[in-house]
Each structure stands twice: as structure tokens, then as C-alpha cells.
């Protein structure tokens, strides 16, 4: 008591003292900035800036091409010249010619483009650096029409909600299954989620590499993964409070799995929507069927922990699970189809990976606690492997 009392009169002073490093830092930064880069001159020369634009979106409208560009670098960047298929074209701009850091503008080019043929657009800076974007096939970019909204919504519904709901129909069979089989199916869930997580992670890394340098980076992927992993952990802990034990129970686990799969399906919808909007994807019946078969296994993944649950889940609860897991595909398709950004796609794929891997950990804990023989039983190991194989094989259909 004495020591605390002795220290307390000075505590106000020490709080202000805590500001000292910040103030000093500001002073040092100020001196350094105003000195005008003389430090750099001591050791060499800064290389010139890249002067490349980030071409974020190319839209094809009747008699017109719209190019959305961003300045991804520190230095200002001026749009000086625009080419289509290596020919200089007249253009108009909404916004300034001179773009500050991370500023965007839309270039509108009156152009009689040829449907279904490859086309390239180029934007040249005042320093003569040309950034080009190849488009595999020029296809009219759908506007946000009622028909378009319905179309993308239907695609999301077909590849997201329907297969998950179908997979959930395995629930009654699973309930009657032997305990060892049930453990195997739980492990299968973990296996297929691991597969989805790794796939999403790979996708995220691949996409971040294509981003302009200042915003790209493995750290961006980590951010997405951490964000969703930690959110899922938090969510899982909150759900577990309803259960009798501190650990996550079967019912909550089913919901967690559904959420994890939901985040993944959001990314999947986003990818389908974006690719289609950019003319990179032939959205045939076969592809949709492939995605559906692929995603039926996701329904099974939710059904396995649901079968473990002691309380019977009503139809309404099951429909909710299907919606949580499959519905995001609809949202993703809308976002991708109408307003996608590459940066957002990276974050979502990373988030999908984080969510999937978190659920794998939860399922693993559950199986370790409940299954006879724990994680090392042949049923569990076999189930896990079967989950991965099932995903790989059904994934071939969607390739």
C-alpha cells in the first residue's frame, strides 16, 4: 500500500512522459523531411518511379470502352495517351488527368469493338510508360439490370445453396450410422475443409502477386487469414457458452462449419462473377454442374457434426445452415459481377482460407475429444484423407 501511495502522485507526470517518444519522433521526422532527401544522396540515388497505372476494370458498352485506372504509386501520375489494340485513340475522362496517390479515374473511349474477339487496352503516362491490359474476349459488360441481378443470384443459388441443402439430406442416414462411421465423416469434413482452405490460400497468393506492388504482398493474405481465423475463434467461443461444456458442442460446430463454408462460397461466387464479367470464363452448364457436385460434399460436411448433436435440428434450423453456408455465393456473384476489385478478391480468398482452417481446428478438437481412439484411429485418418480425395476428384469437374 505504501509503495503504491508513494508512486501515485507522480502518475500524471509519467502518463505525459509516455507521450515523449511520440513527440520526439514527430520532431525527428520533421527534421528529416525538411532536410530534403540529403541522406539519400550520401548513399546513392533513388530509382525513378515505375509510372505504371493499375487498370482495375475494363467495361464494354455499346460503341464504348470504359477503363478504370488507379495510380498505385507515391508520385503523381498523368494520363497522357490511350491505346486500344496498339492504336492511339481519342478519349474523355471523368476526373483529373493527373492522378494523386491511389486516386482513380475512368477513361471513356468511343470505340467500335468487335464482339468475342481478344482486345487490349493501354494507358500511357506523361513519362511514356504504357500499362496494358489484355482482355481475352470483348463481351458487353452487363449493367446492374434486374435481369442481371436475377441471373447472378441464380448462379449463386445453384452453386451455393442447392448443393449444400442436398448434402444436408444425408443427415438422417448419418444419425443412424455407427459411432466410428460418424467420426470418419467428421474427419472427412475436416479433410474437405483443409482442401478448401489450401485452395483458397493458393488463390489468394496468386491474386496478390498480380496486384500493383504498393498494395500487394503476402502480408495482405495474412491479414485476411488472421481476420477471419480470429473472428471465427471469437464466434466459436461465444457459441460454446450456450453448451454445457466450455468446448464447442456438436450443434455449434455445425454452425461454425456452415459459416466457414459460407465464407468460402462467398469467394467462389466472387470468382465466378468476376471471371464472367471480364469475359474470362465460359459459364457453361457443365461448369455449374461441376461446382454443384463439388459443393454437395460441403453439405455433407455440415451434416456430420449436426448428426452428432443430441438435440434434433428442425427443418428451419437446417434451412438456416444451408443458407449460411450457401447464401454467400449469391452475394459474391453479385459483387464480382458488378463491382469487383482485385484487392477485395485477395482479402476474401484469404478470409476463406482463415475461416476454413479455423473450423478444421475446431472439428479436430471435437473429434479428439469424442471419437473412440481419438485423432489416431484409422476411421478418422481414413475419413480425413477421403475428404481431400473427394474434393480433388469433384473439383476436376469444375476445372
Amino acid at each position: 500500500m505504501e509503495a503504491r501511495a508513494a508512486r501515485s502522485p507522480g502518475s500524471g507526470f509519467w502518463r505525459i512522459w509516455a507521450l515523449l517518444p511520440v513527440v520526439l519522433l514527430a520532431a525527428v521526422v520533421g527534421v528529416f523531411v525538411t532536410s530534403g532527401g540529403s541522406l539519400v544522396e550520401l548513399i546513392g540515388r533513388n530509382p525513378p518511379s515505375l509510372d505504371e497505372f493499375e487498370i482495375r476494370r475494363v467495361e464494354f458498352k455499346s460503341g464504348e470502352i470504359r477503363i478504370r485506372v488507379t495510380n498505385p504509386q507515391r508520385d503523381d501520375l498523368t494520363i497522357a495517351s490511350v491505346t486500344v489494340d496498339d492504336a492511339i485513340v481519342p478519349f474523355s475522362l471523368d476526373g483529373d488527368r493527373e492522378l494523386g496517390r491511389l486516386r482513380s479515374a475512368t477513361i471513356v473511349v468511343p470505340y467500335d469493338w468487335v464482339e468475342d474477339e481478344p482486345i487490349s487496352v493501354g494507358v500511357t503516362s506523361s513519362t511514356g510508360i504504357e500499362t496494358t491490359e489484355e482482355i481475352a474476349a470483348a463481351v458487353e459488360t452487363p449493367g446492374a439490370s434486374v435481369k442481371g441481378v436475377f441471373g447472378y443470384g441464380l448462379i449463386g443459388f445453384l452453386v451455393g445453396v442447392v448443393p449444400v441443402a442436398l448434402g444436408l439430406l444425408w443427415l438422417p442416414s448419418l444419425r443412424r450410422a455407427d459411432q466410428r462411421w460418424l467420426a470418419a465423416f467428421m474427419a472427412l469434413t475436416a479433410g474437405l475443409l483443409t482442401f478448401l482452405g489450401i485452395e483458397a490460400l493458393g488463390e489468394a497468393f496468386e491474386r496478390q502477386a498480380q496486384l500493383p506492388e504498393p498494395v500487394a504482398g503476402a502480408g495482405l493474405v495474412l491479414l485476411g487469414v488472421a481476420l477471419s481465423y480470429l473472428t471465427m475463434t471469437f464466434l466459436g467461443t461465444r457459441l460454446a457458452r450456450g453448451e454445457q461444456s466450455a468446448a464447442v458442442g456438436a450443434g455449434a460446430l455445425a454452425l461454425l462449419v456452415a459459416v466457414g463454408i459460407g465464407v468460402h462460397n462467398f469467394g467462389e461466387g466472387l470468382a465466378i462473377g468476376t471471371s464472367f464479367a471480364f469475359g474470362e470464363l465460359t459459364l457453361g452448364t457443365f461448369l455449374i454442374v461441376g461446382f454443384m457436385i463439388h459443393n454437395v460434399t460441403e453439405g455433407l460436411g455440415i451434416a456430420a457434426p449436426a448428426a452428432e448433436s443430441r438435440s434434433r435440428l428442425g427443418v428451419r434450423r437446417l434451412a438456416l445452415l444451408a443458407l449460411v453456408a450457401g447464401g454467400p455465393a449469391i452475394l459474391g456473384a453479385w459483387l464480382g459481377g458488378f463491382a469487383s476489385s482485385d484487392l477485395l478478391a485477395v482479402v476474401f480468398f484469404a478470409a476463406a482460407a482463415g475461416a476454413a482452417l479455423e473450423v478444421v481446428v475446431e472439428v479436430g478438437r471435437y473429434v479428439a475429444r469424442r471419437a473412440t481412439g481419438g485423432l489416431r484411429s484409422g476411421w478418422v485418418l481414413g475419413g480425413f484423407l477421403a475428404g481431400i480425395v473427394a474434393m480433388y476428384v469433384t473439383g476436376l469437374l469444375a476445372a
Binding site: 497522357a80 495517351s81 500511357t124
Partner: protein
């Protein structure tokens, strides 16, 4: 051609446009108007001069490439005459398309460099002052002694060299830097037209010089812009006015780097093409093809008044800037 003496101070004055060049974007950028005014004033003051000491044409206006388009008048032969030129090699940002600036290496501040003209057997004396950042030379096409060839006598930064030889043979020739790496020194802009007039003067005509070139502004080994006399679509924006009553004579040279060929095609008429301009043999055609370094003389007797297009018959070059118009008036 007037001769000019070059002093250190004049050289510095000549380098002023180099500093002002980035501000010359008045055409497209409003924010820099004050700097552009300064440069424009200077450009106006110095218009009509080809020597660096007297300044360089400012880009942007309809007449700023006139020095490169209209050669000085041919001189009748006179024994013992000396034709003296001063070429200062220096680095300068040039506007190769509206709002697009290229860090060029120039002779006297422009790409292509000034037109050098002499009559056959005039004694040509060309002073090269290297005020640039790399060793340069001038290699003339034509007949001259081996030690005047611009290959072995490399002119280091800050030094001067004088080329001296009788101008011959008559014809349309060219000059360019022959320092290594050759490709770099040429595509950066060190080249120009070199006209040697025959002792027996050619028929009077409206004379024009067209140097075909390209600019690789992003360094990927492919040209981003193609031009006549250095500015893409320049003569499309400012058509060349000619009279139908008199022959139009074009001194044509191809100095395009990276691409194997360039060409000249005229709409609505035919012309006589004299390869290298060194003889009387001509082809009657509307399209000629030139590899790098190839050149010749075109003579057009326009049959009709009106606006006629001329361009490279490589569609890609046309659409990247190599296109213009003749405004033919009666």
C-alpha cells in the same frame, strides 16, 4: 545557312528549354501555365533558329516544327564556299505526343536534329559540341575521308570535334550518332537529314523534309509512337499547306529504330520517287518502302486541290502517330 559562334553562355541559354521542357505541357495540363508561358515566350523569341545557342523550337504550336519541315533554300554552286554548322549534343525531354515526354538525346534540342544542307563540292565544316551525358559522334552518309566518318573519333562529354569534308555526292542523305550501343544512341534521337544539292540546280519546288522515326517511351524495345519530324499526329492536327501550281518536293529519310521497315503512302495522287535522290531514275508510284537509313526524294504534282492524307502503309504505325494531311490549295 548562317554560321554561329558558340560560347559557354550561349550553351547555357540553349540548355534552358531543357529545364523548361517538362512544363511545356500547356496543351493538356492547365496547372503549369505560368511555366509554359515562359517557355513559349522563349520559343517565340528563338523561332527560326536551328543552332542550340539560338534556342530550339517550342512544342505545341502549329509552326514549331517548321525548322525541321522547311529546309533552307538551295544555294547555286560557288567554288571554294564553306558551309559551317554547329551541332550541340545535349539531353532534353521532348514532347513526342501531346502530353507525353521522352528523355531524348538531341542534336540542338530537337529530334530529329537540324537539317544540314550543302551544295555539291561545298566544303562542309560541322562542329560537334558534346554537352550531353555520354560520348557521341556524327556519322554522315556520303563520300568522305576515313577519319571523318564519325566512328573512331569518339567525342567525349565536354569536348568538341570538327568534321570537315567536301559535300558529295548530291542526293538526300542523313547523319546520326555512331557511338555504341548504337541502337540506344539512335533511338534516343541523335539523327537528322543531310541534303546535298546537285551542281546543276533542281527545278524550283515547294521543299519539305520528312524524317520518319519512332519513340520507345517505355524501354521495352518496341516503339510506342511513330512520327514525322518528331511529334505524333502533328501534321494531322496542323496540315501542311501546299500550292497545286508548283511541284512539292519531299526529302524523305527513315530513321526508325527497332522496326525493320517504314513507308510513305500518299492518298489521291501519284509521285515520282528518286531513290537516294542521287540520279534521274525514278519510280512513278504512291507508296515507297524504306529500311532504316534508306532515303530518297519525292516529287508530287498534285492534280487536285483539297485535303489529302499521307501516312505509313503499316497500319500500326499510322494509328500510333505516323499520319498527316496535305492541304492543297489552288
Amino acid at each position: 545557312m548562317p554560321k554561329s559562334r558558340l560560347s559557354r553562355r550561349k550553351l547555357l541559354a540553349g540548355a534552358a528549354p531543357l529545364v523548361a521542357a517538362p512544363a511545356l505541357s500547356k496543351l493538356v495540363l492547365d496547372g503549369k501555365a505560368s511555366a509554359a508561358e515562359h517557355a513559349g515566350h522563349e520559343g517565340h523569341m528563338l523561332a527560326g533558329a536551328a543552332m542550340v545557342g539560338e534556342g530550339t523550337p517550342a512544342p505545341g504550336g502549329p509552326h514549331d516544327l517548321d525548322d525541321l519541315l522547311y529546309p533552307s533554300a538551295p544555294q547555286p554552286p560557288r567554288p571554294g564556299r564553306v558551309r559551317e554548322y554547329e551541332l550541340v549534343a545535349h539531353d532534353r525531354e521532348v514532347e513526342v505526343a501531346p502530353g507525353v515526354f521522352f528523355p531524348a538525346w538531341t542534336y540542338n534540342g530537337t529530334v530529329p536534329g537540324p537539317v544540314i544542307r550543302a551544295t555539291e563540292d561545298d566544303l562542309l565544316r560541322v562542329h560537334l559540341v558534346n554537352a550531353g551525358s555520354h560520348p557521341h559522334t556524327i556519322h554522315f552518309h556520303g563520300i568522305h575521308p576515313a577519319n571523318m566518318d564519325g566512328v573512331f573519333e569518339v567525342v567525349d562529354v565536354g569536348t568538341t570535334f570538327t568534321y570537315e569534308f567536301p559535300a558529295r555526292p548530291y542526293g538526300m542523305h542523313l547523319y546520326h550518332c555512331h557511338s555504341t550501343p548504337l541502337k540506344k544512341h539512335i533511338h534516343k534521337g541523335l539523327y537528322g537529314a543531310f541534303i546535298v544539292d546537285p551542281a546543276k540546280p533542281r527545278k524550283p519546288a515547294q521543299e519539305l523534309v520528312m524524317v520518319l522515326n519512332g519513340f520507345d517511351t517505355d524501354g521495352d524495345g518496341e516503339n510506342n509512337f511513330y512520327t514525322v519530324n518528331g511529334r505524333s499526329f502533328y501534321y494531322a492536327r496542323y496540315p501542311i499547306r501546299v500550292r497545286r501550281s508548283q511541284t512539292v518536293r519531299i526529302y524523305l529519310a527513315n530513321l526508325t529504330e527497332f522496326d525493320l521497315l517504314n513507308s510513305f503512302h500518299l492518298h489521291g495522287d501519284f509521285f515520282r520517287y528518286y531513290p537516294t535522290g542521287s540520279g534521274d531514275v525514278f519510280e512513278y508510284t504512291d507508296t515507297v518502302m524504306l529500311c532504316q537509313g534508306q532515303r530518297g526524294i519525292i516529287e508530287i504534282d498534285f492534280a487536285n486541290a483539297g485535303r489529302f492524307m499521307f501516312h505509313a502503309h503499316q497500319s500500326e504505325f499510322t494509328e500510333l502517330g505516323w499520319m498527316g494531311f496535305f492541304e492543297v490549295v489552288d
